[in-house]
Subunit: 165 residues, 2 copies
Amino acid sequence: MKIKTLHDLYVDKLRNLYSAETQLVKALPKMAKNASSGPLRSAFEEHLEQTRNHAERLEQIFDKLDARAKGKKCYAIQGLVEEGEELIDVEPEAPVLDAGLICTAQKAEHYEIATYGTVCTWARQLGLNDHLELLQQTLREEKATDEKLTRLAEAGINQEAISPA
Amino acid sequence: MKIKTLHDLYVDKLRNLYSAETQLVKALPKMAKNASSGPLRSAFEEHLEQTRNHAERLEQIFDKLDARAKGKKCYAIQGLVEEGEELIDVEPEAPVLDAGLICTAQKAEHYEIATYGTVCTWARQLGLNDHLELLQQTLREEKATDEKLTRLAEAGINQEAISPA
């Protein structure tokens, strides 16, 4: 794809985000399954539902753009998904695994916060206000998930991980 | 490496960060060279100096831990570096490239903000206050760089990228 204008770059980054969201839809069930804290498992399950909505919102935007809903492989999220899987494979004690899964999930959230933040700014500058509304909804949910994960880590998971049983 | 406790996970994530910082030390000169806005080029050059310091601070921490300063490949940052290089290779107009480089750099900053945020929390909970001080200095600099990049984008680079000459 040629990238000549900010609009082209905007579409390019939306495709990156679409790849990120669809990769996360596949990865979150495994993260939920391996979380031993009930509230953490629920948080991942709830975020899976949100992530499906985020992908659908991007599809709506591609539709508005008359563009095909097509991802452009997001290697950063692929790396994070692999990092999470590697940790699961070394079979740490339950609270250590939970703390590690939270760390990986927060990296993914921040990746998305940075990217949605940028595409929101671009959508505003390009006068695409109907896109902006959809992207801002997602951005708010990503930030709320990040904050919820911090609360879960600090409410006990990290403490248990210091000297796991 | 076996990961049995939060302390093991902490060292594991420090190795990830060390890999991230050393990859960025290699990538930032190319980003600076390809930035056409003077203030953006300066921001990348200044951040290169900071990034070298961040790597050195991690070396100090490995020293305190009597551990070898050794990275554990950070695939997320590798993906972001490739994303930046791909954009440079398609040769967009100067302000579009600048806007895209800012986007990629902010994703890297957010990756680091999430990870340093987590290791700061863990260092505090593990009672490693001398590490915490070093990690917090870096975290502050990553956040300041992210904010500076937002200001540069919004001060004119994005606007120029809408209809580049």
